[in-house]
């Protein structure tokens, strides 16, 4: 047990290096992940945006937080997929029969998810910048945004881990993402929730995407964002804890 603990970080490092190679040898995955958020951003800004009545002179600024969450929801699909491949190809079995910490294989995937999503999110922000996104925010608000996005990525990644571990085929591994994709549409990501009819508004106000979007939007526009930030953090941490506990249980059960 002693040796296993000493080597844990080294083992996670090796796993991380392995999965990073996967990312950099299939950069098209970053393109696939960013393509649909970019398309939605273009669609909303240049086609639908004119008809959307929002009290803002820069709709790209308004839209960007929701698009970033969509990008992450897209990106984690690959986490499920890669996990499923490792499971199906017997790679997990090989690792588990070796004298290494069992969770090292899982943590490698999780860390890589953070890195690959960071790349995708950066791409989206650059595109948004070209489309006219501007932010008066200083270093601290930006760090807060990065922190929230990081937590959101982790929370989503553990969901993806559960999906990848319990999926029987590549199709079902990605199916869960569909629900996550819908959430931004029924939130404050594209239009204010006040414009929605009662029940829809009630849902939109009480689902995680709305406070997260509101918090990021406030931070990026230098508005006070106290309540939204706490609400966003609470959602992210709660989802992360639940999904983490559940994912580890699924992982252990699979032997």
């Amino acid at each position: 047990m002693e040796t296993i603990k000493t080597y844990f970080f080294m083992d996670v490092g090796v796993m991380f290096g392995r999965s990073m190679r996967h990312i950099f040898r299939s950069l098209d995955t970053i393109m696939t992940v960013t393509l649909s958020p970019i398309a939605i951003m273009l669609l909303f800004v240049f086609v639908l945006g004119g008809a959307i009545q929002i009290d803002t002179d820069n709709y790209v600024n308004y839209l960007l937080p929701g698009i970033l969450l969509m990008t992450i929801a897209n990106g984690i699909g690959y986490v499920s997929y890669r996990l499923l491949l490792d499971k199906q190809r017997g790679i997990f079995e090989r690792f588990h029969s070796m004298p290494i910490a069992r969770s090292a294989a899982l943590w490698g995937h999780v860390l890589v998810s953070l890195v690959s999503n960071a790349i995708s999110v950066t791409v989206i922000i650059l595109i948004a910048f070209i489309m006219g996104f501007r932010s008066p925010a200083g270093v601290l608000p930006w760090l807060a945004v990065i922190g929230i996005l990081g937590l959101f990525t982790l929370a989503m990644t553990w969901i993806a881990v559960i999906a990848g571990l319990s999926a029987k085929s590549a199709d079902s591994a990605g199916a869960f993402a569909f629900v996550i994709h819908l959430l931004p549409f029924i939130s404050s990501a594209f239009v204010p929730v006040e414009s929605m009819p009662g029940p829809v508004r009630a849902f939109a106000e009480n689902q995680p995407v709305t406070p997260i979007v509101d918090a990021i939007r406030a931070l990026l526009s230098n508005q006070p964002a106290g309540n939204e930030i706490w609400s966003a953090l609470a959602w992210c941490v709660a989802i992360m804890l639940w999904t983490y506990i559940f994912a580890v249980r699924v992982y252990k059960k699979q032997g």
Partner: protein
């Protein structure tokens, strides 16, 4: 000292999945330095035994001692002295052959992973393909790499679960030669197979697993004695299609 000479000792091993009983009290012993073949048809429980012995699965009852350590109470110690080559070549397709070997050597915390990878590549005839991605390898090359990965760190006991299933005849003979070489070098090999010829070719001791029990065990000669004495008959020996295939391929390669 007695423990040193027994590599695997299994007693009254039972395992069922839900209500389906897979192992119904399995007993056998494997002596250090021998090749032990577990012969059985699909679904006989071969892989279940391998998974229990390699700590991937917990038995319901009975004991299994591997290299002197109980698999259920001391799995860490067991993992340190074994290696598993599973039913499907557990190789990382996106990495190169060399990277796969270095990764395993690092995970086994060996000194000088590069040197170990070089040596194994040479030994398994993978030098020319070392820096190509494994996705470009043939089935036989994958299997060779797979077994090479298992041998990093020279584990005392090597588990090969159906190592030739799905391989073409040439690749199968390559694998056989590897196993013979391992046996010659004094390693203990635990092999499962559904091919009678494979057990006959490779194993010192053969155990036949049928419906969750070992129904016969011994050397090939001992097993032969279980059957009525051989009658001498003269039959014209036709070459099998496999003989023809191998001969034709060999001639073609000579030209």
């Amino acid at each position: 000292m007695i423990q040193k000479q027994i590599a695997i000792s299994v007693q009254k091993l039972k395992k069922s999945f839900k209500n389906i009983s897979v192992l119904e009290g399995v007993d056998f012993e494997v002596k250090t330095g021998t090749v032990f073949a577990l012969l059985g048809s699909n679904g006989a429980g071969k892989t279940t035994i391998v998974k229990i012995l390699t700590t991937l699965l917990k038995q319901d009852s009975g004991t299994a001692i591997v290299n002197g350590f109980d698999v259920s109470s001391n799995p860490e110690k067991v993992r340190q002295s074994i290696s598993l080559t599973g039913q499907f070549a557990a190789v990382d397709e996106i990495l190169t052959g060399r990277e796969n070997l270095i990764m395993i050597a690092k995970l086994r915390h060996l000194d000088n992973p590069r040197q170990i990878a070089d040596d194994l590549l040479k030994r398994f005839g993978l030098n020319d393909a070392a820096d190509r991605r494994v996705s470009t390898y043939s089935g036989g090359m994958r299997r060779r790499l797979d077994i090479a990965m298992s041998l990093a760190g020279e584990p005392q006991l090597i588990f090969l679960d159906e190592p030739t299933t799905g391989l073409d005849p040439e690749a199968r003979i390559e694998v056989w030669n590897i196993v013979k070489e391992l046996a010659g070098g004094g390693s203990t090999v635990f092999l499962t197979t559904q091919y009678l010829e494979e057990a006959e070719q490779l194993a010192d001791i053969i155990a036949i697993l049928h419906k969750g029990r070992i129904i016969a065990e011994g050397t090939l000669d001992e097993l032969k004695k279980l059957f009525p004495p051989a009658k001498v008959e003269y039959i014209e020996k036709q070459p099998t299609l496999e003989d023809i295939f191998l001969a034709v391929v060999a001639i073609k390669e000579e030209n």
